[in-house]
């Protein structure tokens, strides 16, 4: 057996390790209800902005709170200890990484998906005619 073969075997072992650990470390997508079953455990929740709920940013305390609806339709108050993200009102989908507490979901990181420009053109040019007929 050559030394390079031994090296190859070690490399394959490390690769297997990387696969197992990466899959194990990865978080999972859940809804608010599942997150609430394990308060304090970090999860990724995908939802969208609840436009009917109050949205409030307290710059002094640096605390942004809003209402979110997850993919199952359940609503939850979300607190984010960061400034209000730019253009938050226009977000189509919000990915929230964080954990549940008794009173609210504490988001540590928020990613937003904003509507693409393509939709706006339809509003401006095409769909104007659609409600007339």
């Amino acid at each position: 057996m050559k030394r390079t073969h031994i090296a190859l075997i070690i490399i394959i072992a490390v690769a297997m390790g990387a696969i197992m650990v990466s899959l194990g470390d990865a978080s999972t997508y859940v809804n608010f209800e599942q997150a609430e079953r394990n308060p304090g455990t970090k999860y990724t929740v995908i939802g969208y902005l609840d436009k009917e709920a109050a949205m409030n940013y307290d710059a002094q305390a640096n605390r942004f709170s809003f209402g979110a609806v997850d993919k199952n339709g359940s609503k939850q108050k979300v607190i984010y200890h960061q400034p209000k993200p730019q253009d938050f009102e226009r977000s189509e989908e919000i990915t929230m990484k964080g954990f549940a507490t008794d009173s609210a979901f504490i988001a540590e990181e928020i990613l937003m998906k904003c509507p693409s420009k393509y939709n706006e053109k339809n509003e401006m040019a095409g769909n104007q005619n659609s409600y007339v007929n």
Binding site: A18, Y29, T44, K51, Y131
Partner: protein, 804 residues
């Protein structure tokens, strides 16, 4: 029907060029194939002329698209989406490659340039390698074909008119001959994303795509060798290309990092974002491939590994293309492209070349010469081989973790083979996840770079080795200890180990060049590149490992740890790390809002030490975009960006904020700020021309009731008027309650209307900003290392060309 005001000729030339480029690449491929099987001057001529025609057609595509962009022909969808009348001419390049179609064209262009060089330089390898090249070009050209045979979409063309796009076809306005004049929306494009309006967007994509293109040459040569069954002599021509690829792709990636650091507010130069990762991984593999080729060139060993890595680098480029453009990354990346409906085509492209290349390799594997003797433990080739394997495993770890969305599609609960019980989401803390793997790899690589230079091919006498390395070892221990002392790195063993090995690699390579290379520039390639890479590691370690957020908020809420963003009221002095910061005020310059912040050494100083002006850039489509401002000192940077400002608080100029939107059907009730809102009815009035069955104007009024907590009712009747395709809102303002209501739109499918409501907001007493400020120590080591690594790679290319 004849449309008024359209410019059809340049678009026609563009499309013709695309089809010519596609067809001539196919012809070149077939002719090269025939010529490879049966050498024939006729075939060769056809092949070369076809590839020449292909290159000309590619140039034609580039020029047509530039022509459309420069002349603001907004009837073209691509021009409308990526440029506007007020776009400065110097950003026309950025507009060119902002979209996917443009970036495919850029890739096609660089491949054609490199293909032409290869055609004249490859000699014996021309037939087989150019056959592969032409096949790749046919695939890329097909990405911008934009044809629909049998209802299948093949490619997306940048030369499509807006009225011809799938999303617009059949809409009433496409039937109007004068649509360009009639609708103001077509007079001007939506413009270039303001985030991309800077010089980095002009230089980063072409460099990166040249890097992508450069990986094709070693791939094509390796494929040629496998097809031909001549496994050895391709290594010599492939070597300079491999180093060129390491240099130019590395430059492209580092430019991306510099851009992120300087002009985007990601808070650093590298965030392990999937899009960043997917260009880094082919580079790591190419670096491994270049070293394996070097081993074979010097010691006739490790040829199979050299083959597999050379093939993999290009395949990984294809895989990255698939990841970033198929939309599969979805919500795991902030800056991947949207799906253009090409994911199937991209997948075929990826599978075609990976199955072909790996199949060919396995088929030929037995015949590839292998060295019989075992490498000596004291030989350079053994440790270089180990280093390449580590690069491979490092690349594997990154791409595997980046591919979680793909893994969900394959083995997730709704995947092809459901193994996992739930879909895997990206790591909650990606930086910690990647660092836990990549730091140890980097550590080993640094040590190998340090000792490798003093090992000889074959066997090294231990006396020679230690004599060479001892001085570097002593110097590096001294400097690393000093650095660890200055930057308090003693408590973190992994950082400390990387620091020592990084400095070790720097001094060892420097010493080697001074002693063995006799400080001769023509031998400097490997030393300079290695010093550069080691400095990148050291610079990243110190600047990131010891970065200090100096904008920690002093206010604690709900037991949350102090926040990294600080609120600064205008005129108030605040402690920002070692400085006293004062927010001076806001200035508007065009679409940019500059926030001036002064930094003083001592609170009482009259003259500030320096001022920073981070800004928010506004645009119609994107809203405000923060842009950082950084104070550079030789040994540290103060990097600041605005995360919020009081200027953003009131969304409408009349003092109303807290926007909310609700959909209501008839009789529905909504709750807004403690009040009930009831929709009683909706009234529509139209003015029309009965003879021509046309509606000229219409007014829609919503009859709503607002009921306050006491039960008192207030009628509100917001309305909107549509006339000449313009929509005008007639909002209702309730001054007493401080509410404003707008009848936004009608949803005829659901029989609902949309109402938007605002509350009067108190005028802000004192303007403020919320900003984040980070000190990055020694980040200049990182930039210096980047430049050295690129220079070193190009010296290596020059060395290889000169020697052959």
């Amino acid at each position: 029907m004849e449309y008024i005001g359209e410019h059809l000729l340049p678009g026609f030339i563009g499309r013709l060029s695309v089809s010519t480029a596609f067809v001539s690449a196919l012809v070149a491929m077939v002719a090269y194939y025939l010529n490879a099987r049966n050498e024939n001057a006729g075939y060769r001529k056809i092949a070369r002329y076809s590839f020449g025609l292909h290159s000309l057609a590619t140039l034609g595509i580039v020029l047509s698209l530039f022509y459309l962009l420069l002349n603001h022909y907004f009837e073209y969808d691509y021009v409308w989406k990526h440029s506007s009348l007020n776009l400065e001419p110097r950003f026309v390049f950025s507009a060119f490659w902002e979209g996917q179609e443009g970036s495919f064209i850029l890739w096609l262009f660089w491949n054609a340039v490199l293909g032409l060089i290869l055609m004249f330089k490859a000699k014996d390898w021309e037939n087989h390698s150019m056959m592969v090249f032409s096949a790749v070009q046919a695939f890329i050209a097909s990405m911008v074909l934009g044809v629909y045979p049998l209802g299948l979409k093949i490619g997306s063309s940048p030369f499509v008119l807006m009225r011809e796009t799938a999303e617009n076809i059949g809409l009433p306005w496409t039937q109007l001959a004068n649509y360009l004049e009639r609708f103001p929306a077509f007079m001007d494009g939506t413009g270039l994303n303001p985030l991309l309006q800077n010089y980095w967007m002009t230089i980063h994509p072409p460099t990166l795509f040249l890097g992508f293109a450069s990986t094709l040459v070693p791939f094509a040569l390796a494929m040629a060798a496998l097809i031909k069954g001549d496994f050895k002599s391709w290594v010599k021509p492939a070597l300079p290309w491999a180093f060129f690829s390491v240099g130019i792709l590395g430059l492209g990636i580092l430019m991306g990092g510099a851009w992120a650091y300087e002009a985007l507010s990601f808070g650093g130069f590298w965030a392990w974002d999937p899009v960043e990762n997917s260009s880094l991984v082919p580079w790591i593999v190419m670096a491994g491939a270049a070293h394996l080729l070097l081993i074979y060139r010097n010691k006739r060993a490790g040829l199979s590994a050299a083959f597999i890595m050379s093939l993999l680098s290009f395949i990984l480029i294809l895989y990255s293309t698939f990841l970033t453009r198929s939309g599969i990354l979805g919500d795991s990346s902030v800056h991947s492209f949207v799906d253009l409906g090409l994911s199937g085509q991209l997948l075929i492209y990826l599978l075609f070349f990976s199955v072909l290349a790996l199949g060919l390799f396995l088929w030929r594997y037995k015949k590839i010469p292998k060295s019989k003797s075992d490498d000596d433990l004291s030989s350079r080739e053994f440790w270089m081989f180990i280093g390449s394997l580590i690069l491979f495993i490092s690349a594997f770890q990154i791409i595997f973790s980046t591919s979680l969305p793909v893994i969900n599609k394959l083995i997730g609960p709704e995947g092809l083979i459901p193994i996992l019980s739930e879909n895997k989401a990206p790591h909650l803390d990606p930086i910690a996840h990647y660092h836990s793997w990549q730091l140890p790899f980097a550590l080993v690589i640094a040590i190998l770079m340090a000792i490798g230079q003093f090992l000889r091919y074959g066997k090294t006498a231990s006396k020679v080795f230690w004599r060479g390395i001892s001085i570097a070892l002593i110097l590096s221990i001294a400097l690393a200890s000093y650095t660890a002392q200055v930057y308090y790195l003693w408590s973190e063993p992994l950082y400390l180990a990387l620091l020592y090995s990084g400095f070790f690699a720097v001094f060892s390579n420097l010493w080697y060049w001074l002693i063995s290379g006799k400080a001769n520039w023509s031998f400097a390639g490997s030393s300079v590149a290695h010093i550069g890479f080691a400095l990148i590691l050291v610079g990243a370690l110190i600047s990131n490992g010891r970065k200090q957020v100096i904008s920690r908020s002093q206010v604690f809420t709900e037991n949350q740890a102090a926040n990294e963003n600080i609120q600064m009221l205008q005129g108030d002095s605040l402690k920002l790390g070692p400085y006293t910061g004062v927010y001076e005020g806001v200035e508007m310059e065009g679409q940019k809002q500059f926030y001036k912040v002064s930094y003083f050494n001592n609170p009482g100083d009259s003259e500030p030490l320096f001022q920073l002006r981070p800004f928010l850039q506004f645009s119609d489509q994107m809203g405000p975009n923060p842009n950082p401002d950084t104070k550079h000192y030789w040994n540290y940077d103060i990097y600041t960006h605005i995360t919020y400002s009081s200027e953003l608080e009131v969304s409408s100029p009349d003092g109303f904020g807290n926007e909310a939107e609700v959909s209501l059907g008839q009789g529905d009730t909504a709750i807004y700020e403690g009040h009930f809102v009831v929709l009683d009815s909706t009234l529509a009035n139209f003015v029309g021309n009965e003879e021509r069955q046309e509606i000229l104007a219409g007014k829609l009024t919503a009859h709503l009731r607002l009921i306050n907590p006491m039960g008192t009712e207030f009628p509100i009747q917001p309305a909107f008027v549509v006339e000449n395709d313009f929509k005008e809102f007639r909002d209702t303002v309730l001054a007493m309650q401080g509410f404003k209501f707008r009848f936004e739109d009608v949803d005829p499918d659901k029989n609902e209307i949309q109402i938007r409501a605002w509350t009067k907001v108190d005028p802000i007493e004192k303007p403020y900003i919320v900003q984040k400020a980070i000190v990055f120590p020694m980040i200049n080591i990182l930039w210096m290392g980047s430049i050295l690594m690129v220079i070193g790679s190009f010296i290596a290319v020059w060395q290889r060309i000169k020697r052959s």
